[in-house]
Symmetry: C2
Amino acid sequence: MSEKNSLLDAFKQTSYQVAGHGKREIQILKEAFQAIDGELESDIYGKGKIIEDFQDKMAAYLGKEKAVFFPSGTMAQQIALRIWCDEKGIRKVAYHPLCHLEIHEEDGLKELHHIESVLLADESRVIELADVIGMEEEVSCLLLELPQREIGGQLPEYETLEQISSHCREKGIKLHLDGARLLEIVPYYNKTAAEICSLFDSVYVSVYKGIGGIAGAILAGDQDFTEESKVWKRRHGGDLISLYPYIISADYYFDQRSHKMVQYYENAKELAEFFNSCHRVSTMPLLPVSNMFHVHFHATKEQVESILIEVYETTSVGLTSYLRETSEGACNYEVSIGDQYANLTKEKVNQVFRLLDERMRGLSLGNMG
Amino acid sequence: MSEKNSLLDAFKQTSYQVAGHGKREIQILKEAFQAIDGELESDIYGKGKIIEDFQDKMAAYLGKEKAVFFPSGTMAQQIALRIWCDEKGIRKVAYHPLCHLEIHEEDGLKELHHIESVLLADESRVIELADVIGMEEEVSCLLLELPQREIGGQLPEYETLEQISSHCREKGIKLHLDGARLLEIVPYYNKTAAEICSLFDSVYVSVYKGIGGIAGAILAGDQDFTEESKVWKRRHGGDLISLYPYIISADYYFDQRSHKMVQYYENAKELAEFFNSCHRVSTMPLLPVSNMFHVHFHATKEQVESILIEVYETTSVGLTSYLRETSEGACNYEVSIGDQYANLTKEKVNQVFRLLDERMRGLSLGNMG
């Protein structure tokens, strides 16, 4: 068995996990459907009470005229950008180099929609006003991802967002929000979701990140935009006869968790402080601005794996199931706080970090030189 | 309230329905999940036991090397045709004028994949060997829909399929099966699904027609083809983090119903005979070759609606919730036999058709002249 499998195995055997809402298992669906009347009629190709009610609820929450439920954010966002490109007649959009569309979608935007991307900022930081003003190419749309997931969930200042929004409106550039984790940033900005969304022409929100549903996404905007998005949804093969398994669970967990984002955010800050107090460990960002951050270990993947396995076996608390090697002698992983953190006693957390710090410190004296 | 709503309302109030498996309601999901262990882990982006086991099962059933679960047939089929077009370097495919891709998908094939269609045969009949041999343009792929749904579910002779398949192999044209209702034609051809599929390079099957799942589709072929289809599935936004709500229900209802296709086929033939014995009513095809057919009324939509409402109210048996006007003084609807037909006694059926015949006959003496 490889080292990697050992970490995963050790993680699976822990009684407590620090991050997330819990395992992605069938019970998530069963719980959401438990109280639902079996005679409730399915949505049919985007119509019917189940889908329309949830779309209305999310439109209101996001402060947009209309919202449309999609099977995935990948589909919703490509479509949003396509609509804005068709409207302006320029097949070019701007976004961050680590944008989901650039690195996780097999180039669907390019292969299916023939839309080019202009990359702003760089892989270490978020897009700032100067990046937008300094953009040399003409684009139809600018996509901002809040928080910028691949760099640990960083955010620009709210004032920057307002300035970028004003600039785009002046220049006739549509502004699209990749709000996969929009709910999760509401506490930091201390604005309502609708206030944040008012800076954008179109908004995508995931229903299975902080909300913890099964799959699916919401795309919101004005009615012309959302009607057009439904045509593209059919073209993409996303206008399923029944989307209710995702909608009912999204609705159920939205009600369970949308008010808990402050708790997750506070937990994330506390947990990051624990990590930052350990030798050879730091978080990105140092002070989280949402429920998420990255944990960077300044030691080899093999060294950290063996330390984590010891921590899991000793405390029965699991931190992560995987590590990514980032460079020679460094590795990291991603944390997103959910319901599970609240199940840990302060005593347990202290025990975990005392041991982690001790072992990471031990590396300095040993084979790390 | 319009006449159309009255027919729907009267249909909804009947105790028995002649066609289908029953209402599309949440109970379909609840039943499928009832016996499933809550601790079973979700599929994750196309991986995991739930999705892999079902894909293997369907690949074996269809006699293909591999199968991939898709959220929709729309997505699966566009992707199949795209792969064959890319392989041959010709963005042109041939299919029937009433092909799903031509009339129900908002031109996704053209808008997303820039693939042109060459239409074979005409709206009254299926594609025959002569249509394929006589094709003047060079195409990458020929799609055959079995049965041809929009003309009542018609089929070519099996020998014709074999001849078309041989011809395509000779000419280097890929042959794709739109087998949305493949299981439903197995009894008529008296071949296994795998035997039928062996004539085709790629095969799509729906899991919510005869099988009666919630949504979803299978795309099968050799491994190179299915691996490529997964890349496109991600590009389309169909590689959802969790597809298990559709997979578990597809698997459950496949096991419940795949062996009942002979029953549905026999029921369809019996029911068509009842319709054809009525004045001013005929079925297309006259003798069904699957579980489906169209019922044509040679009277105005308004006349037939009022007769059907009387039939529903008198017998508490519902035939259809809608009628489509096909021309001046004619209308039709589609029947697909499922589990519900078996709940009707012969006596009930006789009562329905005695009354229907009497009322349709009455039109001849009255205002139809």
